[in-house]
């Protein structure tokens, strides 16, 4: 209990002091995770919709695979991306290792299955309702998939938030491909890991509280936006 109270005090102290390093770390964390979410959404929504609406051999195997990939261990993703971006690896020439873009790439790979799989489920459920009417009107293929995708937008917000949650919470991938370099690739989760390993548990916990508070705020905002829009559109 004592450590938790100290942690809360540390958290409040951190925020109140307006510490510049903390601000830098928070900004980097948000920009990496939000970028990954944006990319994964751009790629994952069409992918999920295509699988939901399409009919092709091996479809069921792909669905199972996609669902399974939701559980990709972050540290494994980090390792694979590291080996790809390492100077000794195939994409070493890009010089991306130990930079924020590498972290965005790793996180995008990590959360793409989550967004795609949840989207697939939502769209598949909606497709059952819409399919006959849309085909009657002459919509099919990509056009029909996009129509259903847009119509499912409120359920899809949840899928995107799930991706955001995973990205902002993970430490394994960004640690390996980012290197936790002070002032360059240090994000909230890697800072928490560092402070923990330095034995400064209240500070680590305090940072954890700050991180959770930010994610909570983002989720609350998304929920309010969704509610308002839903009231309008039904």
């Amino acid at each position: 209990m004592h450590s938790i109270l100290e942690a809360i005090r540390a958290a409040v102290g951190l925020i109140a002091s307006g510490d510049a390093t903390l601000g830098e770390i928070v900004l980097l964390s948000l920009s990496v995770s939000l970028s990954a979410v944006a990319l994964a959404t751009l790629l994952g929504l069409p992918l999920g919709a295509a699988i939901a609406v399409g009919r092709f051999p091996g479809r069921r195997a792909i669905i199972v695979l996609l669902n399974a990939l939701m559980g990709l261990p972050p540290v494994v993703v980090g390792l694979v991306v590291y080996l790809l971006l390492s100077r000794a690896g195939p994409l070493g020439e890009l010089g991306l290792l130990f930079t924020p873009p590498a972290m965005v790439i790793a996180q995008t790979i990590l959360i793409l299955p989550i967004i795609a799989a949840l989207c697939r489920q939502s769209v598949e459920d909606a497709w059952r309702e819409y399919e006959e009417q849309l085909r009657s009107l002459g919509a099919h293929g990509v056009g029909a998939a996009l129509t259903v995708l847009w119509d499912s937008r409120f359920s899809l917000v949840t899928a995107v938030l799930a991706g955001l949650g995973r990205a902002s919470a993970e430490v394994g991938a960004v640690m390996i491909v980012g290197g936790n370099i002070d002032g360059v690739t240090r994000v909230m989760t890697t800072t928490i890991a560092l402070e923990t390993s330095k034995g400064d548990l209240p500070l680590a916990l305090g940072l954890g509280i700050v991180l959770i508070a930010i994610i909570l705020a983002l989720n609350a905002a998304a929920y309010l936006v969704k509610e308002a829009a839903q009231r309008r559109y039904g």
């Binding site: 980097l28 939000l34 390492s86 930079t99 330095k198 034995g199």
Partner: protein
């Protein structure tokens, strides 16, 4: 949804501009970083040369491997044997000694194994005889190699105690200390990490001052012939500075609670015994 896009764009533009400034990547160890030395040392170098130093902190073995893969420009580690081997293999060039610090053995204040004293080998013998819990890093690090050398000198094979009193955490100094603190175990730790470690629990310094506990740091450049992309000029600038009078003084000036952590010894023939026979 539109709002989220706008926020993302703002953050993307606000993200720190990297790659605009000259920089080198230095592979070092977690214990060195956690001692706080770099926060003290690197700004001075940056001010003088305008070169940003990006430190990736890993275990010594991993740091050397990072250099071998060409993902770093310079290695700054503390395992002379491993460093010299890497140079002999051609992975690094221009190895220079920089500074040394020392290890200490910490353990429960009550010292059940009666290990306290100046003789680390005797102390380890007592710990093994008493089968008192000992937390080892077990992670190919400089600290871990030093620990293994000391056990060897004591004529003890700690693997005999594996699973009972000898606990390998496979992790960095901090987590190992957390574990030691949590189970009231003995551990070998570098003084720098100990001084800044905040979760000591019931642990205290029990063995210190033995010459065999001295820990030599070396700095070396990744071989440009093996990895042409290595930033040779900037890397050498760092190596030169850190072994120069100015760099050495900056190292000596780093203190925690009035205590100096690292003792610069560049260029001096190594009188210091790194603990190997």
């Amino acid at each position: 949804m539109g709002l989220m896009w706008r926020i993302f764009l703002v953050l993307l533009l606000a993200a720190p501009a990297y790659g605009q400034q000259k920089f080198i990547t230095v592979a070092s160890t977690t214990s060195t970083e956690q001692s706080g030395l770099f926060k003290h040392l690197l700004p001075a170098f940056e001010r003088k040369t305008g070169i940003q130093v990006r430190v990736v902190a890993l275990g010594t073995g991993q740091a050397i491997d990072l250099g071998k893969r060409g993902d770093a420009d310079v290695a700054f580690v503390h395992d002379k044997e491993a460093e010299e081997k890497a140079v002999a293999e051609g992975a690094f060039v221009d190895r220079r000694e920089v500074m040394y610090n020392d290890f200490i053995v910490v353990g429960p204040k009550s010292d059940p194994a009666k290990a306290k004293g100046r003789d680390v080998v005797a102390g380890l013998k007592k710990i093994s005889e008493a089968k008192a819990p000992f937390a080892s890093r077990g992670d190919k690090s400089g600290t871990h190699s030093a620990e293994l050398r000391l056990w060897k000198e004591a004529g003890i094979d700690p693997q005999q105690g594996r699973g009972s009193w000898y606990r390998e955490t496979g992790s960095g100094m901090g987590p190992t200390l957390n574990t030691a603190s949590g189970m009231n175990a003995y551990a070998l730790v570098d003084r720098g990490t100990w001084l800044s470690f905040k979760n000591r629990g019931d642990l205290a310094i029990l063995v210190e001052g033995d010459k065999r506990l001295f820990n030599q740091y070396g700095v070396m450049l990744v071989n440009p012939r093996k990895h042409p992309d290595v930033k040779k000029a900037e890397g050498m600038a760092f190596i030169d500075w850190v072994t120069s009078a100015e760099g050495q003084k900056t190292i000596a000036d780093y203190k925690i609670g009035g205590e100096q952590l690292f003792f610069p010894n560049a260029g001096k023939a190594s009188e210091v015994n790194v603990g190997k026979k």
